[in-house]
Symmetry: C2
Subunit: 255 residues, 2 copies
């Protein structure tokens, strides 16, 4: 029996899961994300070595928190872990397996939900993660859409009001300051739907998993600002895979 | 020799062009758009009959100003020509040819520029038309991207500031009131690039063709608000096909 390894590297924790050949998680654990590169690489190396000592793995998929050059295998920019800017991630993981795929963490989220969660059966899907930041991933024609520079889906950076971004107006910091920001989130999602007109919008991230963000307010505000009468009914729903979604999605990057 | 007919139906004029089998316009003319349905249908019928009397045509492609149900062949909603709401456009044109395709006019614009104009050779393209309204069309993987309800690319309806839409803030009415709105247009385009990260953004419509909108201001403002360092260099350029672009694009809808 061979397994796939899915790793989600976040600003505060690293989630590692092992999946069988039916994409079912066998076990998983968390590591607190170390705050410098040396410790970071050591912790990751130890975790992986411990697993491959006891399990045969067919590949490792990794979700990374920032702009990822998927082809070159480099994490270009990691706003919350700046010591990882320009990290040659793929090169690092190739020490453990010849089959390595990396992508942005929010894309891993939407990929997991598309294949195994709330997005099953849909063709064009928007994934939006609401937490420390606002992240995004786009599935078009059942495949991840990366755009020309691997930066498609940077929903957090669109300007919504008074030269402020979606993320500034509604992610964790704004939440702490002003409380639930579901109205702005509803407008942000309406903007995305007016541009992409997806089959479905799937929400994830800490703000959603914790239940702190009111999804019915989001739905009614979005409905108001969506232009097309038919697109007003675009389903906006919570992801089904919970905290494991990004690590599962990372493993699904593997061929 | 057979020809294709391309028709662009706009709020103020209808452009009709005849193209040879190399997509080269042979001749074209304008009709002022009549303000009621009866006159509208009569004018269109006369124009087409006059052409097919003298030229053999292989099909008619039509660009329509609003939300178009491409499969059913219906113009769902035409904000500037409300008497055409729910017009069974395809059914009307089938009287003249068995080969009929319709789509939204801004999609025709971006299709023409993609195949024959400023977008040749690019894979993922955003087309933005700035005039009476703000229109949009998206090419992904060299094909028009319609979205689930044929309403992808409704860029004019995204909220950019103080609950106001891109169109309210920067189309013709705002231009008359406040003068050149290139700064808001730059922000709107940055939003679109942050979401879609296209290879290129092509601008068209009356505001661009007339030269009234300052494209270099748009470029520098967009650059400021685009998040990804690489995407900051996304080319933002004027279309090459001028006033015929939408009618040419309409003819390119034909198989």
């Amino acid at each position: 029996m061979t397994y796939k390894l899915g790793i989600d590297i976040g600003g505060t924790k690293i989630r590692v899961i092992l999946l069988d050949n039916k994409n079912k998680p066998i076990f998983g654990f968390n590591i607190s994300t170390p705050k410098n590169k040396k410790l970071f690489l050591e912790s990751l190396e130890n975790a992986i070595k411990n697993i491959i000592k006891e399990h045969k793995i067919s590949g490792i998929g990794i979700g990374l928190p920032g702009i990822v050059d998927v082809k070159r295998g480099v994490l270009i920019k990691a706003p919350n872990l700046p010591f990882l800017n320009n990290w040659q991630a793929k090169k690092f993981f190739l020490k453990f397996s010849r089959n390595i795929e990396i992508d942005n963490d929010s894309r891993c989220f939407v990929l997991a939900e598309a294949k195994l969660g709330a997005g099953r059966g849909f063709k064009n899907i928007v994934g939006l993660t609401i937490g420390t930041g606002i992240g995004g991933g786009i599935i078009i024609d059942r495949k991840i859409y990366h755009g020309e520079n691997n930066s498609a889906g940077e929903f957090g950076h669109i300007i919504i009001d008074n030269n402020k971004t979606f993320e500034q107006l509604s992610a964790k910091e704004a939440f702490i300051k002003y409380g639930d920001r579901s109205e702005i989130i509803g407008i942000g999602i309406a903007n995305i739907i007016n541009i992409l007109n997806p089959d479905i919008v799937i929400l994830g991230g800490g703000g959603i998993i914790s239940g702190k963000v009111n999804i019915s307010t989001i739905r009614s505000i979005a409905k108001k600002y969506i232009m097309s009468p038919l697109a007003k009914n675009t389903p906006i729903i919570k992801g089904k895979l919970g905290e494991d979604s990004q690590a599962i999605g990372a493993s699904l990057l593997l061929k």
